[in-house]
Symmetry: C2
Subunit: 366 residues, 2 copies
């Protein structure tokens, strides 16, 4: 019998649908799907070349990776956190091939129950919870007094680009404990934080008892094509052993080459990847400046700008057909996005400048 | 609430447990966990190096891979099947990072129901179905008259090393259709077939209407550390669109580098990987010869030999402590394995010869 939950899914996944429409047009600057465009630093690619080469020699060949990741990889993540004052133990770090897949597998740890999701929401959260059979309730602020099993928080947020403050996250931690819920914290955009907002839920007191953090090198280091991320499951949250057991039977680990490249990106390649983040952030500044007079948020701690503009599909088509700009209709992220579009800054400087001009005209003509 | 199904899992995953014991001993020839040992052919590593290098140049950089795999990868799989007379359409091929993970995600497509699993059984099948909440029934032959939702078949089989004949598989296809079940066919060891037994379920008439095939480059091309596999979901089985939708929201695809290496392994590197398979098969022949007088099966179409020897944990400890041989206790694969151990042939020729001598003594002293 087919899982009847599938009847509740939208026919197409948002980004598959939008991607098809945008690819069908010519001369469009694509600021829709949040995919990076800058090439990897040479030193990171070299680490990949070296790892591939090692695989062809008897002495350096590697078979199955440890299910939780290589020690060198876990050390790199640990050091990455320690450098900003957050202490994570290696045994709490698990390599993954990305947040989307790993979070959906992580849902297996819970009985079917109630999931609190942000509104608007990255659509993969919604789909994964529907498929799992969870009851979904959306929040725009902390729903005091409610019970829940899972709370998904994305900060800096996709799609709104907004980063939560330490106080806000602290309130969420208090709420989660009272609600008996586990926070699944998506830190995919942590490297973009410029305002001083927390980059990890584990900067918050008490979070280790009720939160799990999902992160990835996709946006941090331009690894969308390399597939390497990590999940942090603190001892105190009571799920560490369960997740280790799950990894052992539902995963065979992450590519050795990807893990070596990740190690390098957070080590010898760190200056270079930080420059790439700064490049995208400067793009965001250019795009934000063009929105003068409009209502928008994001762009400071995130590559995303969330622009209020009226019916999101109508404006999506207007932007693509009249201004040659591909964006993502906000309604794709849920009802709250009905009057918004999401604009990303993962483009070349040249395209950011060009897109800014087009946005200025668009705002002016509205 | 924690998924109560976890209470039904064994405390440790079989291979995690066995691995720990074997690593704690000295001078043991490890024929337990089925991991490859021969390095990758140079040409395959070179394809990986080239792909890593491409990632550091603007013009050849790649972001998110297509969720179902790159066209070049799907073409390589299609050609790999076509070369032995099995026609698969590109739109039926989905890249994965391995069978274990992909099959567990595939279970999402079904409501909780009844799963028929082989006895003995690769333990990841059991764990994935327990976690999913399926009712498990084990089969040693076709359970005529029964209803089921899922049937897992592994041929050549892990752990018994036995490959099913075309007639047997044909009966399974007929049975599956009557039972209203989908066959999840694990073809991980297809490249080891020497007897002429089918290497794909799609060699069987009618299979396209009721079967899905999971395969991986792990054993075919020594890719356990590279992580690249594929799943074939024929149009006729009615699950193709559902799986495509699932991949779009629960996965971000497979590493570009891994896919390029896979393309090469099945193309320019094919002669070399076939030589590696022949090497392991020759090891199996050497090990089988040593078992003269004992009761065993496998080794012909598979890297695995399934040896009947009495209480499997007692013999496991005897083999490791008295003979310096690491094997896998058959009971780890279920009740039917109580009197067996599994021996693999993924070792060096030198170790195969040495292990054969030790096995001879072991058999002689029994």
């Amino acid at each position: 019998m087919i899982n009847t939950q599938y009847n509740k899914l939208k026919k197409q996944y948002l980004f598959s649908e939008i991607g098809k429409i945008i690819r069908s047009r010519h001369d469009v600057i694509d600021l829709s799907v949040g995919d990076v465009t800058l090439p990897l630093p040479t030193v990171v690619a070299d680490a990949g070349r070296k790892a591939a080469d090692e695989m062809s020699h008897v002495r350096s060949f590697r078979g199955y990776p440890p299910e939780s990741g290589y020690d060198f990889f876990k050390k790199a993540i640990k050091d990455y956190y320690a450098a900003r004052g957050t202490q994570i133990c290696e045994s709490e770090i698990f390599a993954s091939d990305g947040i989307k897949s790993d979070m959906s597998v992580f849902l297996n740890l819970f009985s079917r129950g109630k999931a609190l999701l942000p509104s608007p929401s990255y659509p993969a959260y919604i789909d994964a919870n529907i498929i799992r059979g969870n009851e979904i309730e959306f929040y725009d602020k902390i729903p005091y007094g409610k019970k829940a099993d899972i709370i998904i928080i994305c900060s800096p947020d996709n799609p709104t680009g907004r980063a939560m403050s330490a106080d806000e996250l602290s309130e969420w931690v208090t709420f989660a404990k009272k609600a008996g819920a586990v926070i699944l914290f998506d830190a995919a955009y942590e490297a973009f934080v410029r305002s001083g907002a927390p980059r990890s839920i584990f900067e918050i007191d008490g979070a280790r008892e009720c939160a799990v953090e999902f992160c990835s090198l996709s946006k941090t280091a331009g690894f969308t094509g390399i597939r390497c991320g990590y999940t942090i499951v603190p001892r105190e949250c009571g799920l560490n052993d369960l997740w280790r057991r799950t990894k052992s039977c539902l995963s065979n680990g992450v590519s050795y080459i990807s893990q070596r490249m990740a190690e390098c990106a957070l080590g010898a390649g760190y200056k270079d990847i930080a420059e790439n983040i700064a490049y995208y952030s400067a793009n965001a500044d250019i795009l934000c400046e063009a929105l003068n007079g409009a209502e928008w948020q994001g762009g400071v701690d995130s590559p995303y700008i969330w622009l209020k503009c009226g019916d999101s599909y109508r404006e999506f088509y207007k932007l693509i057909d009249m201004y040659g700009l591909g964006v993502t209709p906000g309604i794709g992220f849920g009802e709250e996005g009905r009057e918004y579009v999401r604009i990303n800054s993962f483009c070349s400087r040249e395209n950011a400048v060009l897109a800014a001009e087009r946005l200025k005209r668009y705002i002016f003509c509205k």
